[in-house]
Amino acid sequence: MVVYGVYIVSKSGGLIFNYDHNIPKVETEKTFGFPLDIKLQYENKKVVVVFGQRDGINVGHVLISVNGSPVTGRTLEDGRDVFDIIEAKENYPLSLKFGRSRATTNEKIVLASMFYPLFALASQLSPVPKTSGIESLTADTFKLSCFQTLTGVKFIMLSDPNMQGAEVVLKRIYELYSDYALKNPFYSLEMPIRCELFDTSLHTLLELVEKSGTANL
């Protein structure tokens, strides 16, 4: 049972904690000859593969480095534009590394605040009054489980789609939160959680879940 990450959203919809647990790293490096047989495009401040999927380089992957030097936005460390390099024949053979892009902290904050109205919408759409909102959301590659406490804090866990007993794990995370975050006198409510004890005990819990399941939690 793989857990990909844990998020905690405060009562007002802000992301107060995020933890990437076990995200598979997808990276492929390959040497190319001229002309490049992959179509690249610059979007959302990243150089993305738009067409020409092959050798583990998939559509949607992001250019990470050129000849070992990392790419930020569309420029290299020395300030040269990536597209200028790719289009010039004299630069080949060229070693390009592609990978799946990881959400930045800012993007995670945006995603968390997007989940908030989605949750409220789901409870509005309910045919019966008083629903719990979204408890679980399943896709082919992952399952999102959400637990909202009576005080309005949401605990969200991304895991393997076959994950069983996610509610138990979320309740345990709630216990950890009430112990290590709230009893820390230097933690103020509604603020991002930066408590090392919380991090380590959460890590231990997730390791335990991955190793021996949720049966003995």
Partner: protein
């Protein structure tokens, strides 16, 4: 298989430790603030801040649901007293409207060994503060005050809890 939650099981500490620590806090505050009414206010504020955090601990430990009725709330408060102070107050004197009740106890660990000469100090003012703070986090606005106090010569200590309103705009999505 045994539960792995030993770390989270309620830790038992000697209540005398709590009693003495609390006593030290109150006497220190009296020294620094002088006016007992201000001390009452401060204690209540400390209690409020504790309640706001303690409620999460209570909910996580007891997995209790939302109270939609004052009698349930009284039950839960009683349960919390048992959990956190190991004392069993009785719930009595319900108002006819069912929105007001009293918690009565004759022995509280916080005020064991206390003898008071100061008349306007409410020694246990932390407790009503904590109740108010905790209930506010579950969207319940209450008023909470002492009617009788053993430290002032009454036979028992009586704490009155009165429902004011439900904080509708703070109710989390899905429950409104």
């Amino acid at each position: 298989m045994s539960r792995q939650t030993s770390r989270l099981d309620a830790k038992k500490v000697n209540s005398e430790l709590l009693t003495l620590t609390y006593g030290a806090l109150v006497s220190q505050m009296l020294k620094e603030i002088e006016n007992p009414d201000d001390v009452n206010k401060q204690l209540e504020r400390i209690g409020y801040n504790m309640g706001v955090r303690l409620i999460e601990d209570f909910l996580a430990r007891t997995s209790s649901g939302r109270c939609l009725e004052m009698r349930e709330t009284a039950d839960k408060i009683q349960q919390a007293f048992r959990l956190y102070l190991n004392m069993q107050p009785t719930v009595t004197s319900w108002s006819n409207a069912g929105d007001e009740f009293s918690l009565v106890w004759d022995q509280c660990p916080l005020s064991e060994w206390v003898e008071m000469n100061n008349s306007s100090l409410k020694y246990c003012a932390l407790i009503p503060g904590a109740i108010k703070g905790a209930l506010q986090m579950v969207q319940l606005d209450v008023q909470c005050w002492f009617v009788q106090d053993q430290l002032k010569g009454d036979a028992v200590t009586e704490l009155r809890v009165k429902y004011i309103k439900r904080l509708e705009d703070a109710v989390p999505a899905g429950e409104d």
